[in-house]
């Protein structure tokens, strides 16, 4: 058996060793459980560790593989699941006080599909309360800490998921993204984070009230793009339990990710993504564009006429949807929401129905504008966030200071930490965040790549080429 360096592991590298019986899934799982026990008290990535189930699943994987029944590249691979995704027999809190003792009697479809592939579920990850925020400062379960600097937030709402991947407390994590909740923490923790096309992955088993209906997506966090492609292939596809899921065929994404990118064209949307961009992010993004050019890709400006309406479209869609789901709790247990969330939900009750319907009509226009842009480019690139990870203190006081300026984290148009990610929620476009450099304080910075609907293969192709050329994925947090 090989000696395991968990920090250097990826699914792609370890899957072949598991298949060849050079690594024991049970040994691998035990190593991850030991590391979680060592680091979770500091990082607060996991809310629940499902040790018994994980060991049983790993033992089953080992038995099957030893008998020659290898199920595929996720067989014996340790995963974490965000705590707003239903897991049968395991508490699923959604980061809320209200669901603190809720134990689902079903698995979400994505969890079912991971189990069918022989994956091992290590536990449930911490998150922002009801997934309604992006700093993962949770008043009921504590704050997840950024492994690159523990005084900083990991982002959110899938904060624990990103911490778990970045700190090597699992090999891959499932999260949800209704405003950037996978890509935002991926960016701040230096991991890969994918929000697939709307409908690409079933959302059955997502806790109601944690994402709305028309902007929410289940997503994936991994260390590398290839790993992400492997996981998507397993969890994507139509689900009769989710009528909004698509029956578009699921291709072999891994093969597509290795095709060279020379000659591909990507677009940059001017204006929207420049607002309050910090110097560190601007430099990292410009450097990333140079790498893309060095790979033979062409970069051009594109225009989306109604781009400035994105915050209104997102708020006008997601807030009434969340309110409709949480209404029963607002009526029966209002003081079991944190005060800030309660006020926001009450204000959400005052959004008139015409706002919601008009937002859906303008969203169609916006989608058409993106479709038109994709006639001249195959991808769109943008920074994932305007800055690297703020400190927990920054978030509590409500602003950061960068380049001699004060930048508010919340303004009239909503949460500034998700300003750059929400365009791809209201359009449903597949979008991946990958590390594109580090700040002057050695904090990771993320870049998003977006593609036309159901073109995740194109995303993986561009992201993988960049990732290998830039090499940022090799850096490890100082734990």
């Amino acid at each position: 058996m090989k000696v395991l360096d968990l920090e250097g592991l990826t699914i792609t590298t370890i899957a072949s060793l598991i298949r060849k019986k050079q690594i024991s899934p049970l040994e691998l799982t035990r190593r991850y459980l030991d590391r979680i026990k060592e680091l979770n008290p500091v990082l607060n990535a996991y809310l629940a560790i499902t040790e018994e189930g994980a060991v049983a699943a790993a033992r089953r994987a080992e038995r099957e593989i030893s008998k020659g029944k290898y199920r595929g590249p996720l067989h014996g691979i340790p995963f974490s699941i965000k705590d707003n995704i239903a897991t049968k027999g395991v508490t699923t809190t959604a980061g809320s006080k209200i669901l603190s003792d809720w134990v689902p009697d079903i698995d979400a479809t994505v969890v079912e599909r991971l189990k069918e592939a022989g994956a091992v579920i290590l536990g449930k990850t911490n998150m922002h309360e009801w997934a309604k925020g992006s700093n993962s400062i949770n008043p009921f379960y504590g704050t997840s800490r950024n492994p690159w600097d523990k005084t900083r937030i990991p982002g959110g709402s899938s904060g624990g998921a990103a911490v778990a991947v970045a700190a090597s407390l699992c090999l891959a994590a499932l999260g949800t993204d209704s405003a950037g909740s996978v890509r935002n923490p991926a960016s701040l923790c230096g991991t890969v984070g994918l929000k697939p096309t709307y409908g690409r992955v079933s959302c059955f088993g997502g806790v109601e009230g944690t994402g709305g209906y028309t902007v929410n997506h289940f997503g994936i966090l991994t260390k590398t793009v290839e790993d992400c492609a492997l996981v998507l292939r397993q969890i994507a596809g139509h689900d009769p339990k989710d009528p909004l899921s698509s029956d578009e065929p699921v291709p072999d994404y891994t093969k597509r990710s290795r095709i060279p990118v020379k000659g591909m064209k990507v677009g940059i949307i001017k204006g929207y993504f420049d607002e309050c961009l910090t110097g560190d992010v601007r430099r990292a993004f410009q450097d990333a564009l140079r790498v893309l050019r060095s790979l033979g890709m062409k970069i051009q400006d594109i225009t989306i006429p109604h781009m400035d309406l994105v915050p209104a479209l997102h708020a006008g869609s997601s807030r009434p949807e969340a309110n409709s789901d949480l209404d029963q709790y607002l009526r029966t247990r209002p003081r079991d929401f944190s005060p800030g969330l309660l006020y926001s939900l009450i204000a959400g009750l005052l959004i008139p129905a015409p706002v919601y319907v008009t937002a859906q009509r303008v969203r169609r226009l916006l989608c058409q504008e993106f479709d038109a842009a994709f006639e001249s480019v195959q991808g769109i690139v943008a920074p994932t966030l305007f800055s690297a990870a703020p400190t927990i203190e920054d978030c509590q006081r409500g602003y950061i200071e960068a380049d001699g300026k004060r930048i508010n984290l919340q303004d009239r148009a909503g949460n500034f930490l998700t300003r750059y990610t929400i365009p791809f929620n209201v359009t449903g476009l597949p979008t991946i965040s990958i590390c594109c450099g580090f700040s002057s304080s050695s904090l990771p910075i993320g870049m998003q790549i977006s593609a036309p609907p159901f073109q995740e293969g194109t995303l993986f192709r561009m992201a993988h080429a960049y990732e290998r050329a830039a090499g940022w994925y090799k850096r490890k947090p100082p734990l």
């Binding site: 096309t197 709307y198 409908g199 028309t214 909004l244 698509s246 578009e248 109604h306 400035d308 309406l309 915050p311 209104a312 479209l313 708020a315 006008g316 807030r319 607002l330 009526r331 209002p334 003081r335 005060p339 309660l342 006020y343 926001s344 009450i346 204000a347 959400g348 009750l349 005052l350 959004i351 015409p354 706002v355 319907v357 008009t358 937002a359 859906q360 009509r361 303008v362 969203r363 169609r364 226009l365 989608c367 479709d371 009239r412 148009a413 909503g414 359009t427 449903g428 609907p453 159901f454």
Partner: protein
């Protein structure tokens, strides 16, 4: 907006303090301002977005008044 918050406060039994009512009203007013530009967009003949699906992508949207 403050009156609307007070009505909700009674209906839902939130037991909000005056200070909390002011805070929620302010948030609701800001949201109303945010949504205003949506109504300035000409959405004549544009149906609401419901599902993104490649098969539907190239179908023309229903145009009111045209047959």
């Amino acid at each position: 907006m403050k009156d609307a918050v007070k009505r909700l406060n009674d209906e839902y039994r939130f037991n909000l303090s005056e200070q909390e009512i002011d805070l929620v009203a302010k948030q609701a007013e800001q949201a109303a301002l945010l949504f205003q530009p949506l109504f300035e967009v000409d959405v004549t003949g544009i149906t609401p977005l419901e599902k993104i699906d490649k098969r539907l992508k190239n179908k023309p949207t229903f145009k009111r008044g045209k047959k």
